[in-house]
Point group: C4
């Protein structure tokens, strides 16, 4: 649209509010940025038949996550597979009044191919989880309302996901600090765990290598300082992913996945019906399951894609307004099915 810079912020520009934006060959960066949402309307990419070698020759470090890319990551199950092959994840989630976030993360995890799931919860979450997710095992903290320490035998889990519904009580902050400092395996870090991290920034350098962080823009800014616009935010994410050797998943309409190797990926799935409480908890559950079955980078790209694809499938039968995080969980199955070799 006239007035919109393709590769830098247009915040001070006068820009046309287009109903449709036509663009040549591939998405331009500006078309993927939240801040330009009001200007670009529907985007149509016109194939102008550039020679395929051209894009290979470019030093491209930012990619758009296509179904083709995701299918290359996805590993269909072998017929004789047994549950030991799909890992055992631990979710450290929940606090008094926020057990729903814990339930949503656990359900999403169970629906994303994990072999076994254990949930570590404050005592007040015991009944909630046992009833809502019979497939999950539960260990409770001795603290009634908040997680205040680490579970035993932490090393037996392939992946640990922390964050959804934790709250930011001192004892929980202390626990999060502890698991980050001791951890050798990658962690999945979301929501209140990110907020805890933002309040103890010295922890950032202790993050286990290849950990996955899933901030939304506000959490991102709490973590890495205020940003003027989405372009700056993208650059910080890319810089910090390299510097800290972690994977940063900056949630947005086109979620950005920045990797330690310097590549970053813009997600292509999802919709406005997912713009409500609980969506993020579902993403954490999906990634916590996938990280037990895939490399962290693969888990990030696959997880973010499946999360949005679940939302798109849900939107075929449920209105944007009425779609819930539970609906997302219920459509993860269909999102996986679209990746099967025989899927249309």
């Amino acid at each position: 649209p006239s007035g919109l810079f393709p590769d830098q912020t247009s915040k001070n520009n006068i820009v046309i509010q287009a109903d449709f934006t036509l663009t040549f060959q591939c998405y331009k960066q500006a078309l993927l940025m939240q801040e330009n949402g009001l200007f670009i309307g529907e985007v149509l990419v016109l194939d102008i038949r550039l020679h395929p070698d051209f894009s290979i020759l470019q030093k491209i470090s930012r990619f758009y996550v296509s179904p083709f890319l995701v299918r290359k990551i996805f590993k269909p199950r072998h017929r004789f597979a047994h549950k030991g092959q799909f890992g055992h994840s631990l979710l450290m989630v929940g606090s008094y009044g926020k057990m729903g976030a814990a339930v949503l993360a656990a359900k999403a995890c169970i629906h994303s191919g994990i072999g076994l799931l254990t949930c570590y919860l404050p005592s007040c979450g015991y009944l909630v989880m046992q009833l809502a997710v019979p497939e999950a095992m539960v260990i409770t903290d001795q603290h009634e309302n908040n997680i205040s320490q680490l579970p035993e035998e932490l090393d037996k889990y392939n992946v640990v996901g922390v964050g959804p519904g934790l709250g930011t009580s001192p004892e929980t902050q202390h626990t999060i600090s502890f698991i980050i400092r001791r951890g050798t395996k990658p962690l999945v870090i979301d929501a209140d765990a990110i907020n805890c991290l933002a309040q103890q920034k010295e922890l950032l350098k202790h993050l286990p290598k290849l950990s996955l962080l899933t901030p939304h823009p506000k959490e991102f800014d709490r973590l890495f300082g205020l940003h003027e616009n989405d372009f700056e935010r993208m650059e910080t994410a890319e810089k910090k992913a390299k510097e800290l050797q972690v994977i940063i998943i900056l949630k947005s309409h086109h979620t950005l996945i920045a990797t330690p190797g310097g590549q970053s990926y813009f997600n292509s799935t999802g919709n406005a019906g997912m713009a409500k409480g609980g969506s993020g908890d579902v993403l954490t559950g999906i990634i916590t399951a996938l990280a037990a079955q895939y490399e962290p980078f693969e888990a990030a790209v696959l997880g973010v894609y499946l999360h949005g694809a679940s939302g798109n499938l849900a939107a075929r039968v449920i209105s944007f307004e009425s779609m819930t995080a539970t609906d997302l969980v219920n459509h993860i199955s269909g999102a996986f099915q679209e990746l099967y070799p025989s899927a249309p």
Copy 2:
């Protein structure tokens, strides 16, 4: 039907019990009144092709809520929308033995497009809500069985809905009185909150401007005195809406929405399958969600219409007898879908 006055009560008349009533151009008032339900049977409006300017020239202050009107109010979601744009509602609901009403209101709210929902409950409702509605956050009152005080940070919520399942204990009455007196933002007031109001009528004049009240006829009469017939009740509603500068939603087969500006609206959706406990709680939940996204008057008209439309969609697959309030919730999605620009 012979014997039925079109614009005043016919309670003392001898009236034909018609199977079908044909009426010219538009509904007459008598055809919308509960008290005439037995006389009019099915109503068919015959288009006699009055010039459209005619109705515009009339000083009409009472309207029939058409799908056309509702679609003008409804705002489809923008593609890049995020949850911050859809508000954060608070529901103050529930008491010992009536937590079902709280659950129904919360589910309805979650299915009506709210960004975030927090429920303020008596302690006895903690597990019920966390299990039934994982998408909702929960804060509990220190009182076990009833709400006895206000939650902290009341100002951070865009809308507060009070009433479903509250009971009328002294501590709850006190709390309702308190929130009405302090409130600056509009409240959604239903059920036992209306009964509390009826017992402390001096509170009426403290109602925050543009609050939404949803009495059924008995609650209405408790609030504003006994009425002989539905015509008188309508006039009182219209008078009080202006006087108190609130929106009065008088529930009935054709629910009446009386506004501070003097216009009133008769709803066109709904059916006899909704005539059971819990339907009203669902309406409160819908309106509490919409009032965080729309002007109060728009939330009222849209909410009442969607509530009835959900019932009509439910009735396509469920018998009137077996339809539950939970079924209403499950069909809110379809009711929204009917408003989409592309819907048939």
Copy 3:
């Protein structure tokens, strides 16, 4: 089948085990008796075109419940109906470890057109009911594990159903004895309430007129003494219904409804998939709802028919083995729909 008496027991006979039994014009009594189940196979009634007046001229007191009869009883809802017209029932149900029976009865009641439902439970049932049936209000007994007294304001309920899951603790027996002695309105009496009655047979003569008892054959024999065969049981049921002026619903494949007026009715719906725990609780819930909307005799015939019809609808999609009482509840809606004037 050769060897089978049409109108008396054949217990000592040698009888052919037929795959199909053809019978003229109408069911013979022997074809409706549980004890003959093994002999008769599928029954086909051949219409031999007796003059309709013939059956009217006979002094028939035993009827087969046809869809035609049931549709005469059924009252479709009026468009302007409101919840006050459909009554307020009370279910006194449940004890420690048997709250499932309470839940099933309550769900069935809610799906059978009741306006409002209140459940009176031992304290241990509080959370179970509030979570499982949000549409029901709950009052709890001060006793943790058993019902030990009557709720207040018993007279405000249109119907009281007692029995499912109650257990036979002394305090519960005492309570049942109390409600029977004081009661003026008809009661619905099932399961453990029948067992309590069997242990205090002097209560039988205090049963409120037109109460509905729903024993299965073993409970029936505990109540009225051992019987040799189903024919004797039928005759006792008819005798006792007249003597006690109650309606006796003797559950079986063709459930018998014996009325105070001397007529009795054999039900025509149901199947072997319903032969499991919980089916009876669902029947009690249905009848407790209907008795608030219909005459007791009508509630009995309609309720037994709908219960079996729900099972038949469930059997179209669920195997006999896997069908649960919850599945029955979920198909009550379809059973009502079959009674609508426009149903095929």
Copy 4:
């Protein structure tokens, strides 16, 4: 595939990894073994028209479970059946944090044709079970977190299933030891009950005749010593089944059922989507229901087949990754329906 021995382990061989394996007339043993899963790909059995008498003349003791065999075992329900004919099972299941396993076993049992089900649980499981499975009755142990003693009136149950979610606390081990020593009726023994048995091997010789044990390979090795390969494991299973006069169900892709009479059966149903926590609990529930209706050997073959068939039906609509144990339960109904005489 070249390099694969048909009837002994090929662990030290170099073997082709085939995409497809064609085999004449019937499955060779090596094609049914987990350890060969990577080599054989899809297996196609080519009918080379051996004379049917040929296989009868062979002294075959290992069978492949065909739908034909299973339909011979399956008994359709008689029209006049009542719940007393389908038995009353007891499940001793659950411990703190593992109540989900108990719920899954109970749900599976309820969906597999049982007349009545009682669950014996630690106290912490009370609410979970009453809410999740209203069709089940509950008795609780006085111990909060673990089963510590036997329920009363153990002899009134037709079958007792023990194991899912029990944990291996000393008091539970003691209880399991006790029920094994006293038992006269066959038990269904799974999961932690097998682990308890493995820690007190002297109990093996006290196992009630025709008990059913359902170990996965790791549990099997704990019970009977480490095995080098699946062929050895098969032979031990067959030997131990004869020696202890029990039925050993060795879970795997092609689950092996070894019987006291020396025959063994390889199951033909199931898929990789079942490779996750909870699947085994569902199997225990199914077998505990069937053992109350069938001979133990029949219950084993029918149960294992139905369990896998449920998984196959689930896989038609749900992805392997998202399939849960709850989904298995929901498809037991369809698995039964496939056995009906009229099924396609």
